[in-house]
Amino acid sequence: MGLQRSARASLWLLAFPLVTLVVMLVAIAVGSVNIPLAGTVDVLWNALTRQPQPDPMAASIIVTTRLPRVLCAALVGAALSIGGASMQGLLKNPLADGTTLGVSSGASLGAVIALAFGVTIPGLPYSGVVVLSILFACLSLLVILTLAYRLDSSLSTNTIILLGVIFSMFASAVVSLLVTFAGEQIRSITFWMMGSMASASFPNAGLLAVATLVGGLVLYGCARELNAFAVGEDNARHIGVDVRRVRFTVLIASAVLIGVCVSMSGTIGFVGLVTPHMMRMVVGPNHRVLLPATVFGGATFLMLADLVSRTIFSPRELPIGVVTSFIGAIFFLGLFYYSRKRG
């Protein structure tokens, strides 16, 4: 009966961390420079046990280059996906996500403003970018949803997505304006639009881990409420959910997660949109299972996408956004085609 599905879901939740761990090891072991698996394990073991590294080149490639990058990819994937899944549940809208709602564009606008005007917080390099990204992510969400509620209180898919697209275009226009006057810093700004994991480092991974953990726990704490919202906001109110408080909490938590991700790696499209869909197909829509599943699914997805971007045209590197958009677009086309065909 009802147990069948939850038992199956629990099995999946045991399997997901294993899959994620395996993919993580593969992503660390494989790169454009070929280091044998045994060598990779040796390097990791020596690093863990603080023993001297016999091969300093392999050690620096694996420990200081690949490891933080794989960690950052995993964390960005997890954060974007849990943010996307929460917004899709909250708004009962399967197309909601940082990119479709214009939150990512807003966050990159914040990042670009921080770069163009040299906004910094003394003692903390690059913190201006992080803070302004988060601030603008929240502001954009506020603007879009206020407008959406005014136009159409049922918050239908079309209203939100169209407003999101309009807002994204507006934010991009402001970014272009800033780029026009930014002169020589132009190169650093285009990076925010393309998305890249190249600037990954252990401090970045640390900040991402804290944000993902805190944001993820806040969102997971709202799992039951998200289930109610996913059935319908009115239904949520009727069964006793504090609709206003939950909406505010979920939106702020997701916006902060997206803001942190954008400030670290630019706009990486489709991750937050596609992962929740894939996971919902596997574990169902119950957020108590879906949210943890998207954390692992998103981490796995982005680690694999980054692996492809690092290796497919080695020694060249592809922007990771190209890979995720490619996979995402094909996945959505397939999903759309089959859902239409089934009628």
Binding site: S60, T65, T99, T267, R316, E317
Partner: protein, 327 residues
């Protein structure tokens, strides 16, 4: 229908995301044969000058140009080097050398080139290049009765050609200057090459070099083959570590670490905030084992000496020679 619309908007988003990623291609098409025909001796009476530019276009002027617009930074550098700077009435927004161009009115260039803006300056001739300008833009200017010279140099030899052709267009004084510039450049390069060869002689392994065009923070880009940097490296007996990629390309950090360059040349600008580009490279985690970092062999050239096909290529080459082999 509603679902339709939603999916269409999603698709539009996907396309715009992807669209932002194109538009960053590098090199130019193969050069066409070029040459000069001067119908009269460049004496007192102004006469028609006609040259064939590197793309095979015939450019004709009724005498030395009196009003010039240059859209490409390297063209402007050459014009000033040829002594014709006084005739420049407009410049592209990225033209920043020599310093006196700052007082010349700026016109938009690249994809935003504004034909009306250029026509309003009433130039006799516009200098541009195919990498930055489209065929359509050139045609429109030509239709407006303005001569268009397209400089397309992707090697040092082609740069000499462009300098010579531009000298032909800009009058007798310029013609003479062009000849002397090309001669000086040729002599300098020959000397540098000879000196470098001497340094390497005796079986020493040639040092390897990594040209960093974009820093780690924004994703590493390296200069590969078919770039001025690669050509200069070859001349200076240096081994370009990314000679296996074509043009400028995004590369993996781990590839740089594996290729162990002896010298790093970075062209990152410094804005006076945080570590300098050289310090930043030296501080990168995991890079300490790279010979260039271990031996402090990191050079920062910030004035585009080695990326613009102009007279300053020798400055860049000299700076690099001095840095690698000692003055």
């Amino acid at each position: 229908m509603k679902r339709h619309l939603a999916f269409i908007t999603a698709a539009v988003l996907a396309l715009t995301t992807l669209g932002g990623l194109t538009g960053c291609t590098s090199n130019s098409p193969a050069p066409a044969p070029s040459g000069t025909t001067t119908t009269a001796t460049p004496d007192a009476t102004p006469t028609t000058v006609s040259v064939v530019d590197p793309t095979g276009r015939t450019v004709t002027l009724d005498g030395p140009a009196r009003a010039i617009v240059g859209l490409t930074a390297s063209d402007i550098e050459i014009i000033y080097a040829l002594g014709a700077g006084a005739a420049v009435v407009g410049r592209g927004e990225y033209c920043d050398y020599p310093a006196e161009v700052a007082s010349v009115p700026v016109v938009q260039s690249g994809s935003e080139t504004n034909i009306e803006q250029i026509i309003a300056l009433k130039p006799d001739i516009v200098f541009m290049n195919t990498m930055a300008q489209s065929q359509e833009q050139m045609d429109k200017l030509a239709q407006a009765g303005i001569a268009v010279f397209v400089s397309n140099a992707s090697t040092i030899a082609e740069t000499y050609d462009v300098i010579t052709l531009m000298g032909d267009l800009l009058g007798a004084g310029a013609q003479a200057k062009a000849a002397s510039i090309v001669a000086t450049m040729t002599a300098t390069f020959t000397e540098l090459q000879a000196d470098a060869t001497a340094k390497i002689a005796g079986g020493a392994t040639p040092p390897s070099i990594y040209f960093e065009v974009s820093p780690l923070q924004y994703g590493l880009w390296a200069a590969g083959k078919n770039t001025f940097m690669d050509e200069v490296a070859t001349m200076l007996q240096l081994k370009n570590t990314f000679a296996d990629v074509d043009g400028w390309a995004a590369v993996s950090e781990e590839q740089v670490l594996q290729r162990q360059p002896d010298v790093i040349l970075t062209v990152t600008m410094y804005f006076g905030d945080g570590p300098t580009p050289v310090e930043e490279i030296a501080q990168r985690p995991g890079w300490a084992a790279v010979p260039a970092v271990a031996n402090g062999k990191i050079l920062n050239l910030t004035n585009n000496e080695l990326s613009r096909p102009g007279p300053r290529l020798t400055d860049g080459a000299k700076a690099l020679y001095d840095f690698v082999y000692g003055a």
